[in-house]
């Protein structure tokens, strides 16, 4: 029995399909990259705020002032760290593409004391490659808002 000849796509049909696909990706990929970038920035401030709050709790629990630095030159390799003069002090890195933005109100050192207060108040400002910014603010009362 003779089967019907198989008719495939023509080159023009294939070209149109690829063109449409290309247009969809041209809009889709930057949009997705924007979205994931903004989540990255948000996540960075969440992490910083969490470390500040944890340091405050630790200062209250142990009675030892916790000294946080948001300056690379003050941390052994990390972007931000706790420096209590010990050797096992923790340090963390900012995600790829996220940097500090030094501006008015930027404060790179916070000392959390045993009474739950911070000796320093100010903001930590971070920005991504596109220049989008997000901040964490620390108040004298020890309140950390992000």
């Amino acid at each position: 029995m003779k089967s019907a000849p198989a008719a495939g796509f023509s080159l023009v049909e294939l070209a149109i399909t690829i063109l449409v696909l290309g247009i969809v990706f041209a809009f889709g990929i930057p949009a997705f990259s924007n979205l994931s970038g903004s989540y990255n920035l948000k996540g960075t401030t969440e992490n910083i705020a969490a470390q500040l709050r944890l340091a405050r709790e630790k200062a209250i629990a142990t009675g030892i002032t916790q000294n946080l630095w948001f300056k690379k030159s003050k941390c052994q390799g990390g972007d931000y760290c706790i420096d209590n003069g010990g050797s096992g002090d923790p340090q963390w890195n900012l995600p790829n593409g996220i940097t500090y933005k030094n501006g008015t109100g930027f404060q790179d050192n916070y000392r959390m004391t045993k009474d739950g207060r911070s000796l320093d108040s100010g903001m930590i400002i971070v920005q991504d490659r596109r220049g989008n910014r997000d901040t964490v603010s620390v108040q004298i009362s020890g309140l950390v808002i992000n």
């Binding site: 019907a4 008719a7 020890g142 992000n146």
Partner: protein
Amino acid sequence: MLRFSAPRSERGTSLAELMVALVVLSIGLLAVAQLFPAGSRGQVQDRMLTAASYYAQEKIEGFVNVPWSDTKLDVGRHPASGTENLGAWQRYYDVAIHDPPLDN
């Protein structure tokens, strides 16, 4: 030139059918797309709410070393009128006397 014609039983979908299918699909996609702004709005609202609870907690912690005789703990609303302005947030607190026995 060689021309193939498919037998009657193997005809594909017509353009009109394809267009109708695309319209139906895009209506569905648009409905799903509405969820994204709604989710983003909810996220901002929840962030504000979280920050508000931190502000409330801050106020409570501030009373730890305040003696009962302090005017900050006078019965009534503090401040008596208006609110404390905290940027995007407004704060006030009420002091009330609960009749004994208390739950705890």
